[in-house]
Symmetry: C2
Subunit: 235 residues, 2 copies
Amino acid sequence: MIFETELRRVAEDGYHDKHPFHVLLNSGALSRTQVQAWALNRYCFQNAAPQKDAILISRSAGRDFRREWTLRLLDHDGFGQDDGGVERWLTLTTALGLDRDYVVSTTGALPKTLQTIDAYLEFVRNAPFVAAVATTLTELFAAKLHRERFSAMLGSYSFIDPEALTYFKKRLTHAPRDASYALEFVISNAKTAALQQACVDAVAYKCRMLWDLLDALNDAYVIGPSPSGVFNPDK
Amino acid sequence: MIFETELRRVAEDGYHDKHPFHVLLNSGALSRTQVQAWALNRYCFQNAAPQKDAILISRSAGRDFRREWTLRLLDHDGFGQDDGGVERWLTLTTALGLDRDYVVSTTGALPKTLQTIDAYLEFVRNAPFVAAVATTLTELFAAKLHRERFSAMLGSYSFIDPEALTYFKKRLTHAPRDASYALEFVISNAKTAALQQACVDAVAYKCRMLWDLLDALNDAYVIGPSPSGVFNPDK
């Protein structure tokens, strides 16, 4: 299918694993402060994920979609004995030596991180519904890559132990299940050429958005200097 | 507490069990068509409930709130073997002889029903967050009343069997749990006089909104005539 091929091409072309900051992260070339800054800013994105998913649920009059998508909320925020992905991300930030309340407060995050995430939620709120769903497809095409890189990357830092990495282990099972439902939904619901284009554009937008988050980290913590007020123990 | 007393007073004063249509419904005075019209229009409200709850989840950066509120989504849309409240409402409409797809399509619903529900979702999206949460408090103060009335009412119609009423049985356990969490949240988060007033106003708005839904039914199916195109087998 041309539509699916195009979605895949855009997602693969734009995927943020090619970003300079990600390459540094993967290769073990970052300092402890730089990895901390990444984990702290990425927390904001992790914590916005259930908000984004709830927006999608709120936009659907279809029980089947809502019911399926609610599984993502359970993954992010936990259910019963499971603490959920947001909490597992905090295991990582705590293992990196960051204060839990400080991370949750997001006061140390880069303004550009917060702005980019707000704009993303706004996009998901306002785009044609099927295109809003399509923003989640980046996961499908890059999941394998993503997971391999993370294991490699995190293996390169002596200050990270395997305990801290439960987040990534859990994603191995959740991400493929989520992404295949989303792909099927997008393909069967984007029935016009205009909607298909909107979906392709939405995937491109999502890639750029993830890229922008890494730009912000690169600008502040690799090129420097970081804006005043944000996390920076080296200053 | 003055705040809690005021919330309770407004909710009790405005509660829609005093609406003429509700009084007719409770007393067994409605025709089969009128009860069908009520169930069909009320379906739109039931199906909007998970959308409203998802809006609230999407507006919260706090995992604990989201995690607690997600239980409502599971109640509405089901989880695992449980079909959920929306599906149980369809058991009622089916028992009343309405075609399932017709009900789900909402094409037979009153325009005023749909407009009123859209405006409600808009309110929940845009009101101060704690006031948006406060709209759900009607449940707390009126739950007992509500449940007693429904049993009485539904007992008065020979065309409704107990099987059709599972929806109401389930609400007996869910509603009190939900409402006490919401009340605690509102009381501890509405910290200024302005926010407390916004919460009281939100409860009043919600009562009016439920009242408006019954006005629409009364206008179309008791006073008449019903607008063209909507459900009306007697026409």
